[in-house]
């Protein structure tokens, strides 16, 4: 197994902004460029910290991941570009809302999910931590397409999975393998 690498926060944010710009192309509303709906995640804290300094991208912190799903759904209905950033524990906490809104409701929601405590030298499926180990199987049970962000080369998956969620009218997720830098 290739060792995962940490992804620099600016690379992720530039990818978000490029994606949002493409989504906004031709739209009546131009500001903000896009929305990040988050519940704090240790694994993606450098991205969240850098986003706080971004004027073009609006960040809304929610109390729970259930709420993040609801806000993202409303924004999508209004035609706004939106990404949800949470951690794996939050995915477990919000399964009913994932089912009710994103799956049964056929609302596209794209998730960036941090795999806190993922061991760099182990496949997540072999992690000693249940929170890491069960994340992909849980997504599989619900039929949520997912992939791993294992290094800088994988940021191309962000627009791919974002657009996949829109095209399939449902959820799609990327799992952030190591803490961002």
């Amino acid at each position: 197994m290739a060792m995962p690498e940490s992804i620099p926060a600016p690379l992720i944010i530039d990818t978000y902004k490029e994606l949002f710009r493409a989504e906004r192309n031709g739209a009546r509303r131009k500001e903000p460029l896009g929305w990040i709906i988050s519940v704090p995640d240790t694994h993606q804290k450098t991205v969240l910290a850098a986003l706080d300094k971004e004027r073009d991208v609006k960040v809304l912190t929610c109390s729970t991941e259930d709420e993040a799903n609801g806000v993202a759904a409303g924004l999508w209905m209004a035609g706004e570009p939106v990404i949800v950033m949470i951690q794996h524990a939050g995915l477990y906490a919000s399964v009913n809302t994932l089912r009710g809104i994103a799956i049964d409701g056929r609302v596209p929601i794209f998730y960036m999910i941090g795999l806190l405590s993922r061991e760099a030298d182990k496949d997540p499926l072999e992690s000693k931590h249940s929170m890491v180990r069960w994340c992909e199987p849980l997504l599989d049970v619900f039929g949520v397409p997912h992939a791993r962000l294992e290094g800088p080369d994988d940021v191309k998956l962000i627009p791919e999975y974002y657009r996949m969620s829109r095209a399939r009218r449902g959820p799609a997720a990327l799992l952030v393998g190591l803490a961002t830098s």
Binding site: K58, L60, C62, G70, V71, A78
Partner: protein, 198 residues
Amino acid sequence: MEIETPMQTTAMKPEDVLKVIAANRGTAICIPTMTTSPSWRTIAPDDLSIGCVGFMGGASTLGLGLALGCPDRRVIVFDGDGSLCMQLGSLPTIAGSGARNLTHLLFRNNVYHTSGAQGTPGGEGMDWVMMAKGAGYKDAFAVRSLEELEEYLPAILTGEGPIFVELHTGLAEKTPMTDRGGVPFPQQVETMRTRLQA
């Protein structure tokens, strides 16, 4: 058997509240949930509403997303006290968002009517207005009669939000269990998105 609560004898009928809102909402998006959903379908059968059933507690933040995405349009959430108990954290989330066009109506009856009228945590002792104010809502107040509702209507429909209104209501005539049906949620979602993009 009809279920009675202490509030039922003096409280507003939720259907009467909904009729007043329907008659005055203008172009506002409305988000009913649980026991307000069946009645709203017949009182306001339009494509500017989304009935939330199946993810209890989610109406307030779905409404928040719509409010943030449509800053020039009023969004009115018809929440329930049982539902809000399930997503109590939405109070600071909404307050912190600063959504100026969001009105959060709470249809308070102190029970989980849909599932058999079990008492809500805290029951009559809950001070929802204080909770909303404490969370940071721009304004929060209680309405106990249709006369008060008429009086506060301008603030409810046009005041700077987020606004929280605790409506002292009795039990609805219908629940999602006694009156199933209506347009499926995914279809409501698609219709709303199409309407807002037009």
